[in-house]
Symmetry: C2
Subunit: 553 residues, 2 copies
């Protein structure tokens, strides 16, 4: 135990999102990233989930810092929640800090948190660990890989990256530093698998410029560009080309406005004076003088683009002559929403440019040839695929094995909660921690019990029935007919006489109940619940939730 | 009114699935197809929806027949439901009839329905309409387009089709008949848009043979092919290649077994004696002697493939050395499920062949160049894109306009419920019928009210609370503390004292209620509901459903 390194992913392995990982040596633990995820349980009032941090409790006094690779929600979004439990210093880039601060403000945590802003190539000692921040390219700006020197060897955590020699903002990926570590010897490379199924190289952020120039040259009317608010390079491209084509830019949607504001304030975006205009100014301008930069590329009903397509967004509606550019990928699960939105836009008479028709989007993640470049620069002893569903992790392994000459035993596939032990020679999963997800409620940004979600799922599936029986506490006799109230229940209501039949069933059940049952409220509840359940199941085949209430008078 | 044709789509326009259309002339109405759809409301206990047939009630005496193009669920699945309402004769191919019969049996309708089996090129008079059944190629067998002669001109409804000159089973698409109608003059072509965004030609069903031959040649262990149970050409290919490579075929999954049985019985599949083996026989065989043909290509949790990947399907589990072929497209909305299943299969150590890596699937729908062939064969006066989301309908229109020289006014985009009027010269939407969907309950195959679904959605979102107050009927005083029972509610329970606070709030509300409120049960219910709602919203921000019950004693 005393001379090994432990790596324990809390999220992001075998799933997209919730990237978070503990790195532990003796009584010191670093947390790398604290991301949120986007669960499928939206019907149950939750849009967001975070790793369950419970297992960290036993290491409360050992956690020394949280280190963030970059500012995307799936790496940063759980930060307020983990900081509420473990208030430790945070290390990240200036831009990531800008996004983090805005998040901490929403949770009223700003004054309680120590945020260390670091530069590329900064080297920071955090207890037994020495962390170097290595600049990588990605769709966001100011992103890092982490090189962590530990007593058993150096591990490199890539974060999200691609090998972009010509980013729009800032300098290219710092391959020289990766090679330096490679020469010194790297024990393990924890490496982004998001695009491990994609052959070839991921195009540079600049690759979309020609398509945008064409679109601007062709468009006679308004141009509406929908992109991820965090695609800062993309925003700069649209801003530059707008300038070039004498159009003003109007930014719409809360997250887009926030990110433009932060990146502008911190000097990441280069915006000519007077280029940005307000919505009111934009409405006064001729159609060929304006570009709208908007949220909603995923078809989200409440975002700017969907509202412009279906009704009106602050008085703005998509119309004939408009050109809409969907400058984003389709996140799996959103296909139907997006397809429907595209239909609505066509219906309004506008032209649509999608990724499939022109190169208006590039990924921010390493494809197979990027993975080759990274892996050969670092030449680690062990490759540990991270970030992605199992499908991507396995394809990552396959690629490294078949194309980079790694032996099976030097590629380690792990799962959330696995305790991966490294001693400098060996890498092995030696244990498993109980790891889960915690849902965050839509309305209060509070954690919500998974039991609550389970109950909601049950209610949703076949509805529910409240059954109230009023009993004379002394005689055990019914005082009035049982009250039965239904919600979301099929084939059982007051219109077809079945409600009356059910009342008779419950009445008979009480009349036939033993003295013991009548004397014990919980026995009585269960007794009438089971009888009513049988009756309804026989009548309709359904099994709604039944909540019995016994009133003693 | 008297000399026009009306075309009224009940489903399938602006959506995938639920294909159904009414064609009306004076007091005669044909129904073309009766398909089901697959809604997103699965959380609420419904996997299936059908068109709402209510508006047909006023034409009850006019409906003369239902004509089916082919047997896919999205064209056939609503047949039992519409026949229960309107028992009219059905015209369809032999194979479609086989599938229809099996469906009618499930609904115990077999003896009540008149099924007319027709051959390609059969011409049937149905009142004022004359319908010719034209053979088309598709992923299913025995599929028709319909040429319908009406008093105002001929309309052609393509059904689902592609232009396949070399299908595996049966003869190629009967382009000659389409051209014959084209020469005689066609008023309107109602034409499949599913693949209208896809350039080029759709490959022949035979196009997957080389990939399958390679896979069979390479595989040393078991082969598991997952396909749509209705892809009959595909099943024949797998059967043929299994024979060629000396493997036996074991068919797993209810719908796959049913379709193999029906197509074999009706002579569509050509299966060597002894080729099919039972699961028990298959288990006895060596790994390189067997192919499993299974359901579950969409990652459905209860289907054979998912179960083989995660636990065990009747004692069968995917293992190292197995080759799994996903010989199907990904239906939009299923991406996450499928990706997760692929991960599980990799985890089991098996090899997976997906559509992206080899040509193991081709579409059954017309791509743009197929649409060109069809449209130029028929040369209709009007093109009416059908079958697909708006996105596809609009791209269909764009293609016909830009590449086939059709004028804007000769391409008619319609929506579900639109009344498209044709008089031989003009085509115009002259009205709109109220059309909706009807959900079918998972457990009983019964229709379910949309109000019920609305209630389930509400319960799911924030849970619910039952509030029981027991009142002395004479004095209006509370007889005992209010009972509050919660289900799926966040941040409000007995552990944090909030339940007691809520009881106090309700008690105070009753004490402060007017005589009038106390005397009127519904007023009193609403009074306590609103007070409790305010309390909870202030406490947690949430707004669960509150069901008040008043017991008078």
């Amino acid at each position: 135990m005393s001379s090994v390194l432990e790596i324990i992913p809390l999220g992001g392995i075998g799933e997209f999102g919730m990237n978070c990982m503990a790195v532990r040596y003796e009584d010191e633990m670093l947390i790398l990233d604290a991301g949120m995820g986007f669960p499928e349980e939206t019907a149950y009032g939750v849009d967001v989930c975070i790793p369950n941090f419970d297992f960290l409790e036993e290491y409360r006094d050992h956690i020394t810092a949280i280190v963030l690779t970059h500012g995307h929600e799936d790496h940063l979004g759980a930060l307020p929640y983990i900081l509420k439990k473990f208030n430790v210093p945070v290390y990240c880039s200036h831009f990531t800090a800008g996004l983090a601060e805005s998040k901490l403000e929403e949770h009223e945590l700003t004054n309680d948190v120590l945020l260390h802003r670091v530069e590329p190539r900064d080297v920071v000692d955090i207890g037994v660990f020495t962390v170097e921040f290595i600049r990588v390219s990605h769709s966001l700006v100011d992103c890092f890989s982490l090189a962590i020197k530990t007593p058993v060897g150096t591990i490199i955590h890539t974060g999200d990256y691609k090998v972009d020699e010509t980013p729009v903002i800032g300098e290219p990926i710092d391959l020289r530093s990766f090679r330096r570590y490679g020469q010194e010897g790297v024990l393990a490379l924890l490496s982004d698998s998001t695009n491990a199924t994609v052959p070839g190289r991921t195009p540079s952020e600049r690759a979309v410029i020609p398509a945008f120039e064409e679109i601007f040259a062709e468009a006679g009317g308004r141009i509406i560009v929908a992109a991820f608010a965090s695609s800062i390079h993309r925003l700069q491209i649209v801003i530059d080309i707008a300038q070039q084509f004498n159009r003003k830019v109007c930014v719409l949607g809360r997250s887009m406005q926030k990110n433009v504001e932060i990146s502008d304030r911190l000097g990441y975006l280069d915006i000519h004076d007077g280029l940005l205009v307000s919505l009111n100014e934009a409405k006064q301008m001729r159609d060929n003088q304006i570009v709208f930069l908007v949220t909603g590329s995923q078809g989200e009903a409440r975002a700017a683009l969907s509202q412009m397509a279906t009704q009106s967004y602050k008085g703005l509606m998509i119309d004939e002559g408009d050109t809409v550019v969907l400058s984003a990928r389709i996140i799996p699960g959103n296909e139907r929403l997006i397809s429907r939105m595209i239909g609505m836009i066509y219906k309004r008479g506008a032209n649509i440019i999608e990724e499939k028709r022109r190169l208006v989007h590039v990924s921010g993640h390493a494809s197979q040839e990027d993975i080759r470049i990274m892996t050969e620069a670092v030449r680690p002893k062990f490759v540990v695929p991270i970030h992605g569903e199992y499908r991507m992790l396995f394809r990552h392994k396959e690629f490294v094995k078949n194309h980079l000459g790694y032996a099976e035993e030097n590629i380690v596939l792990i799962e959330n909660g696995d305790v991966l032990e490294l001693d400098g020679e060996r890498a092995a999963v030696v244990g498993k921690r109980e790891i889960g997800r915690t849902f965050i409620d839509d309305t209060g940004f509070e954690e919500i019990e998974s039991e609550t979600i389970r109950q909601r799922r049950q209610l949703a599936y076949e509805g529910m029935i409240t059954l109230v029986v009023t009993i004379n506490a002394e005689t055990g006799e019914l005082q009035s007919p049982p009250e039965i109230v239904t919600r979301g229940v099929r084939g059982f209501d007051s219109t077809n006489g079945s409600l009356k039949d059910a009342q008779r069933v419950v009445t008979a059940a009480i009349a036939g109940a033993s003295r013991q049952t009548l004397a014990d409220e919980s026995l009585l509840k269960e007794h009438v619940r089971v009888e009513l359940k049988r009756f309804i199941q026989k009548l309709t085949g359904a099994r709604p939730v039944i909540m019995p209430v016994v009133v003693q008078v």
